[in-house]
């Protein structure tokens, strides 16, 4: 039986602000979930995660997250925990969902 390949992205928190960030195509960290680079093999994802954890001092607590691909192949969180991390608390609209910019960067999805 064919198994559905697991697609994963890398997420972490920014060291200075604590903000939720995702590893983007260009190797930088982005605050936009939709801009995260997707890995289609577990090996690719975990070896990149190892690099990040060893080499990148700007983030903490990096880990892999399962996603599905939505419109334009933009990753969407597979688990509700990660959905909350893309928005902020559901009881107070003061996280990402309320911000117009974070760390000096304009947010697209507001």
């Amino acid at each position: 039986m064919a198994t559905i390949p697991t697609i994963q992205i890398i997420t972490a928190n920014d060291l200075l602000s604590g903000e939720v960030v995702y590893l983007a195509e260009n190797g930088e960290w982005t605050i936009e979930h939709a801009e995260a680079i997707s890995f289609e093999t577990e090996l690719g994802a975990s070896s990149r995660l190892d690099d990040v954890m060893q080499l990148d001092p700007s983030v903490i607590g990096a880990y892999l997250v399962d996603v599905s691909l939505g419109e334009g192949n933009a990753p969407k969180p597979a688990h509700f925990r990660e959905t909350f991390r893309t928005t902020g608390p559901s009881n107070r609209f003061i996280g990402k969902q309320a911000a117009t910019s974070i760390n000096g960067r304009e947010l697209q999805n507001v």
Binding site: L15, L16, S17, G18, I60, S90, N91, R92
Partner: protein
């Protein structure tokens, strides 16, 4: 209230300087996260889902107006304009930036506050009854003991790396308001037959994934033996507590695995060695501390305004029925300020509200404020003649919700809205129950009830000891809420029993509604409380109602 000595001030200031340097070294890369993590945790700094979180100690929940205003200033300047009061009488800032934390701690140090030992495998901030020193039923004021234990346990070199975190609570010996039976060590103020002061000591209580009721080690421990006895308990735990498995590392498991008898034998044996090491300096320290906790000078004035306002204003009358408790001085009352507005997040308060509370305490409340483990604020000493003014001031600040002890006065951990350990949200359920029963206008018919909600098995929301407990888990990729019934955190300590399969986020409020309606149908005319009805009838009729197929709603 305890007055910091120059030693205390230096100690806290030095810690801020140390932490500032640690943060600097973390940011410049000299410290890795693995090296920095234990240092930040020792200073109350966590990383949660969306941001860092700074947990600031409020030893035994006691604050003055200057400290309350300082919390507001920190939240306005460095956070998002509100704070969260926790179920261990502490306060949490949910959005600090790493670079700002040393400045926050410095601002707090200026008002004799800190975040030391609010995390990590050490003796955590000490808790005590929120009505301490005002209660009409306490045997002795637990605060001086709590402060002595705080001083003994702060930076205690031998107990800085325990197998796991360690929580100590002290109750005044009347109504247990601080869940002592579910702490690692519970102390209850007691007197022996000769009238000498001392403690009943229990050990090995706890919630979390293995809830246990504390076992009594000593029915009466003379006051002077307290610190050597605590030292003995901690030494035994430090020696034989398990370090191989995080889930078996709490002292409750140590006591369980060795048996209470054997644990007691080891403690008593160790205690005999400890006694000679204490030369009385601890008792001199206690005497100095006690001098800081003398009762305020209660004023002599008419209480007529109180009676008049009760007659004239039905809202005030309703508030006085739920939110006042008997004070030891008959002209005074203890006021519970509910941080559970209908549909609100339990334990959250805006900076405007913190400043209003500070003003009220300063003007009418002998400058005394308490945080309760039930996530409310207590004004322990309000003269009855001032109650109408206090009520008006609370009302203007949105703090006059008349629901203390009722179904909407529920407690909840931050859950998955903030916490990285959570398996589900908890505040959504709290908000849903609060809104629904407000719509039904049944709060007063339901009467005294404790609902407690945790967003994971670690049980920060104390679900095991709720009359109704709700535990948020994950099941097949969605939030699932499990109900427990019959828990009790008071001196009648009981662990709630899981009632059956869980409910989705949409189904849990209707399930609680069916449960409450079954109670209303079953309760005796005498005004039997939910927990009394549960004890009389057992779980069966409530379980049947919860899982009734007809999930009809009861619209008002």
């Amino acid at each position: 209230m305890y007055n910091y000595t120059s030693f205390d001030k230096d100690f806290v200031a030095t810690r801020v300087t140390q932490f500032r340097d640690q943060v600097r070294r973390r940011i410049d890369g000299s410290l890795t996260e693995d090296e920095f993590r234990p240092l930040r945790l020792m200073n109350g700094l966590y990383l949660l889902l969306h941001a860092y979180m700074l947990r600031v100690a409020i030893p035994y929940g006691a604050l003055n107006s200057i400290q309350m205003r300082a919390l507001a200033d920190v939240a306005d300047r460095w956070d998002k304009g509100y704070v969260h009061f926790s179920t261990r009488q502490n306060v949490q800032f949910h959005w600090p930036k790493l670079l700002d934390v040393p400045d926050i701690l410095e601002a707090l140090a200026q008002v004799d506050m800190h975040a030391i030992q609010t995390s990590g495998s050490c003796i955590r901030s000490i808790t005590a009854d929120h009505f301490s020193g005002a209660s009409a039923t306490e045997i002795d004021d637990p605060r001086p003991t709590a402060e002595l234990v705080r001083q003994w346990s702060t930076d205690h070199p031998e107990f800085a790396f325990l197998p796991r975190k360690f929580k100590i609570a002290v109750t005044g010996g009347g109504e247990d308001q601080v869940v002592t039976k579910f702490n690692d060590i519970g102390l209850k103020m007691a007197r022996n037959a000769a009238g000498s002061p001392g403690y009943e000591v229990s050990v090995g209580g706890g919630l979390g994934r293995t809830p246990m009721i504390g076992k009594q080690l000593r029915g009466f421990l003379p006051s002077a033996d307290l610190l050597p006895y605590l030292e003995a308990i901690l030494q035994v735990y430090n020696q034989i507590g398990r370090r191989d498995n995080k889930y078996k590392a709490r002292i409750k498991i140590t006591v369980h695995e060795h048996g209470a008898e054997e644990f007691r034998r080891r403690v008593e044996e160790n205690f005999r060695l400890q006694v000679s090491r204490f030369d009385g300096a601890d008792q001199e320290a206690l005497a100095r501390i006690e001098a800081d906790f003398l009762p305020p000078v209660f004023k002599q004035a008419s209480t007529q305004k109180y009676a008049q306002a009760r007659d004239a204003d039905p809202f005030f009358r309703s508030f006085t029925k739920t939110n006042l408790h008997q004070h030891r001085n008959q002209d005074y009352a203890i006021v519970t300020v509910s941080l559970k507005p209908i549909g609100g997040t339990p334990g959250d308060a805006s900076t405007e509200q913190l400043r209003a509370l500070a003003d009220i305490a300063e003007r009418w409340g002998h400058d005394d404020l308490r945080v309760s483990h039930e996530q409310n604020i207590i004004l322990p000493h309000i003269h009855k003649g001032d109650l109408p003014d206090v009520y008006e001031a609370l009302r203007s600040a949105g703090l006059a919700t008349a629901n203390a002890g009722l179904i909407s006065d529920l407690i909840a951990c931050p859950g998955m809205d903030y916490c990285d350990l959570a398996t589900a949200r908890s505040t959504n359920v709290a908000q849903g129950i609060s809104k629904r029963f407000n719509e039904l206008k049944l709060e007063h018919d339901i009467g005294l009830i404790k609902i407690k909600i945790s967003g994971c098995i670690n049980a920060c929301g104390h679900h095991h000891i709720g009359h109704i407990g709700i535990l948020g888990l994950e099941k097949s990729g969605v939030e699932s809420y499990q109900i427990t019934l019959g828990g009790d955190g008071t001196e009648k300590a009981a662990i709630g029993k899981p009632i059956g399969p869980g409910f989705s986020a949409d189904e849990i409020i209707p399930a609680i509604e069916r449960l409450i309606f079954s109670y209303l149908a079953l309760k005796l005319d005498s005004g039997e409380s939910f927990i009394a009805a549960y004890r009389r009838l057992g779980p069966a009729p409530f379980k049947a109602a919860i899982y009734a197929k007809e999930s009809k709603t009861n619209d008002p």
